[in-house]
Symmetry: D2
Subunit: 319 residues, 4 copies
């Protein structure tokens, strides 16, 4: 293996830069040349490359997002697009590709593998919905961003008689919402994995308020419902103001936490070592403190277990 | 003056606790007794008091919000309510009252003054819309909270081809939005003090995107428009995804900055000194690094100058 | 089990309050009464107790340190002191005790267990030197505090031609230093687990500086050497200024990270469940994402494996 | 004026990058070309220049330090060195120079002015010891860094019976120490501007400890004494452990606060406008919320007033 490529794909997350840095430095130590392609599969198909030497990845560890940028590419979802990418990789004399991204990006990685090109995937998605890794890159930073905001809102909540609905990311996964609820001491986490009865919650809140506990935090996973709608229902039920905060893309960025920098550094190093060892078509993941390789087709077929323990813990410690 | 009272009223902000602490410690040094009333004018009318000794205000400097809590009181807006408050103050043998809050709260302070009760007001409102003080309490902390979030969002913005609309507080004041735009390097600040042509902005954005500058941050002051509506207009114009973040009450809370702790400490100390010196019916404000007293009726009649310099600076440094 | 006690012992760390909160709320749900003793074993022997109801642990999740306080107690190290503690526990009708602390505190827990009193220990020590738990409470927060400071220092380092020696905690463990080095991109981690040749390091630094890479960060574990001495050696070798920062107790405190809040919540809940289930004389620890119980005598006899992978990773990614 | 130069000199501080960005964008709007010289006067004499277009200063607002770097230059302190710098400026067709730095750097600016070259200085020094500006660039960020650390240490202090000595920067100025003491609620600020009697302080601390207030924070300005020595004296007097933290260069860096970004943006813009308007040989400073120009010789001859109000406030609110 003389030359490898790197792309970041799908939604960006904190830790991508630290991971690129680690992969590049590991490869350079092995005398392997490295290039990055801009804007994920889109740039890969176009051959929009950047040479990555030690200096190119200096001073990027602590920066959020991805300096290689990322983008969507409908074309790459077609077989034709995938073949175009493989041709470009061969034209550039690239022997292996490391792909950072979420489930869509890893499906793309599997497609390249099935076309015979050596790839290793790295799970990077703040939703933490990728199986075969205890944590995906970016999750820990997103959670700490969320909690910083919720702690601030709690200051206001405890100064007023008010309920607050805080909408967090997560797509189909309630992981961010349930862990954020535990870590902030929120009263409720509304997540897609578990049904809830809003009228019952409103009744409990009214009872709490009558007992003098006159503020409440509800963490809402996006996709469950509109924050505005939940807030209106609560307001009607308890007669008090209920405010909505939509944290949005604030959750994705910022300097990565130590957990994400360390995970990024380990995944970046291992992904290159896997490529060199001929361990292709796999995703490097974190399992019981070790970095392991899982075949990409198992990753794509698999499903993350629902976070039952988290949801129970949120309940015990919440209301 | 043997005994003074303290209330926090209106929207809470960071620095209120530090201000209470300073007022209490200053009074205690002068052998003056201090009590606080819970929930602003509402608790004042009810006589819901807490004795404030040195220990009661220990360890609160760095906490956001107000441990005295705050609330709205329609009753206090009536002359009857105001007289009830004065009677309660007399019943409790209180010789003077320090009131922290925004313009509504300071109007209430003026009402008490006009009924002959000695009061001193302290400007506390993240909107920075109170005249006769260079900065109100809580503004600096709110701005730093906003910028922390916008910096995070910029990481994502620079990783994608996207525009982001970030809605910040400020009611009728564009101060938070315009300073946040300058301090984050945002492309636009949309504020109530200045008209803007959304179709022109969309055209400029489209041109920028065609030139390769494929991301943009628009800071939107609440009240100007709904973030969602602005985002949809931009999306239609530029054909790219445009995301909305509504920072909401996240802006209010959190550990106060050094600026707010220092301002709080100075205002708290001066407010007690003014009461003791017989300088009543005034607001303690910051003017050219000094704490000055301005009659409350001038404060209520006055209007904060629009932030022309800030808006110009935002323009020069933005797009 | 009708009544349980709680103490925090040894050095404080972030997450202790969140852990107390979780243990208390879990016990209350099981209709078990809870008391805390102030200042660890010292207060326990004196019977210096605080009743812990749901309100007593409200609003403490996000606060560093321990509101139960902690202290050293030479008396408790004697058999007499330990018997005194058991008598006090019986006098107070306490059926079981949860002890948060580092290895010294867990030795104390074992002593109480050997005297027949039901105890469960919780590993809380920023040094991460306790075996049978993947992470101890407080480590993640300490690491993030360290990295926040090192990131700041790197701004200055990259603006000047200078070397910086940053001394971090860890007693006999190089965990904090080696992970901090990886996560900050430091050039060197000097740790007690691995010998190093300072003159060789100086020579490498001189060579780097001659090649134009004119700044360097050296993370020094306390106990290895005095920061001042290392700095002087480097200065003599490279002829440039070398500055020292001793982060000291800054590392211990601050709002706990999400990782520490979640770990604290899980350990607190499990410790009470273990006591109730008759699973005594154990430490609740984190192993492969599960909370497990390990007999305290194994914990005390055991030794944390040196962090070989971390040290290698620091080397590959550093100089 | 067709082309201007920019240098950052002396100790770095947060906000320098934001200031460079503002000066560059202001100049470009006026169709003026801009170059920066690396490493302050050292690089200026060598002609080590970087062209600064809009893109070169993009994405640097929130980064600490100075990407133009800074260095000491003994040669520039000589008349010969200064003449060399002026020749280089003329050789490069530069019509005016903006210089960011502390008092030493501004003395250098005055020297160039006296040789007839148009310069404008910008006060940038965390020590806040430069006259004719209410605040220098970097002070607010440094203070917030300090307070973040002191808040963390207070968590530990309140968990133990201990005194903590925290050494902060400031050279001959006690500004950082006294404001940090007020904003953190520290018991003492030891500063160069005011004599103190350590044995009296020790006696007060012993008395406090006997009354049950068993922890204390002492903020020590560097230069007053060694932290270690103060700590040993206190330890001997009170018989308890006293720990030292030397915050060092941690204070200088990190993302600038909003105050520093705004001040930087205003100073950068005004410095270019002053150059263009022929207002040379001056320093742009902040006075009562306005940016004013003060002749550099007045700045150099002047002295910052001692911070009497701050010291009194620290006393009232401290012990």
């Amino acid at each position: 293996m003389k030359k490898i490529g790197l792309i970041t794909s799908g939604g960006d997350c904190s830790g991508m830069n630290a991971c690129i840095r680690s992969a590049v430095r590991t490869a350079l130590r092995m005398k392997i040349e490295v290039v990055g392609f801009r804007k994920g599969y889109l740039g890969l198909m176009k051959g929009d490359e950047i040479p990555l030497d030690s200096k190119a990845v200096s001073g990027i560890m602590h920066r959020g997002g991805t300096f290689l940028q990322t983008a969507r590419s409908p074309e790459f979802r077609t077989l034709e697009g995938q073949k175009k990418a493989v041709e470009m990789l061969k034209e550039k004399d690239i022997d292996g590709l490391v792909i950072l991204g979420g489930d869509g990006s890893l499906s793309g990685a599997l497609a390249l593998h099935q076309l015979g090109f050596p790839v290793v995937g790295i799970p990077a998605s703040i939703d933490n919905d990728i199986p075969f890794t205890d944590m995906a890159l970016g999750v820990d930073t997103a959670l700490n961003n969320i909690i910083y905001a919720v702690d601030c809102i709690k200051d206001t909540a405890s100064s007023h008689a008010r309920a607050f609905v805080i909408e967090v990311m997560g797509r189909n996964s309630g992981y961010l919402a349930s862990v954020a609820a535990i870590a902030s001491g929120a009263e409720y986490a509304l997540v897609p994995e578990r049904e809830f009865d809003l009228s019952e919650i409103c009744q409990q809140l009214r009872q709490r308020f009558e007992e003098g506990r006159d503020n409440a935090i509800i963490i809402l996973a996006e996709g469950v419902a509109k924050g505005e709608d939940i807030a209106n229902s609560i307001k009607d039920a308890i007669g008090f103001e209920t405010r909505v905060t939509v944290l949005g893309h604030y959750q994705r960025g910022g300097a990565p936490t130590v957990f994400d920098r360390l995970l990024a550094s380990r995944l970046g190093k291992s992904s290159v070592e896997m490529l060199v060892a001929g361990n292709h078509g796999v995703m490097a993941g974190l399992s019981c403190n070790n970095i392991i390789a899982t075949p990409l087709d198992e990753v794509i077929r698999g499903a993350k277990r629902p976070q039952d323990e988290m949801l129970r813990l949120a309940e015990v410690l919440g209301i």
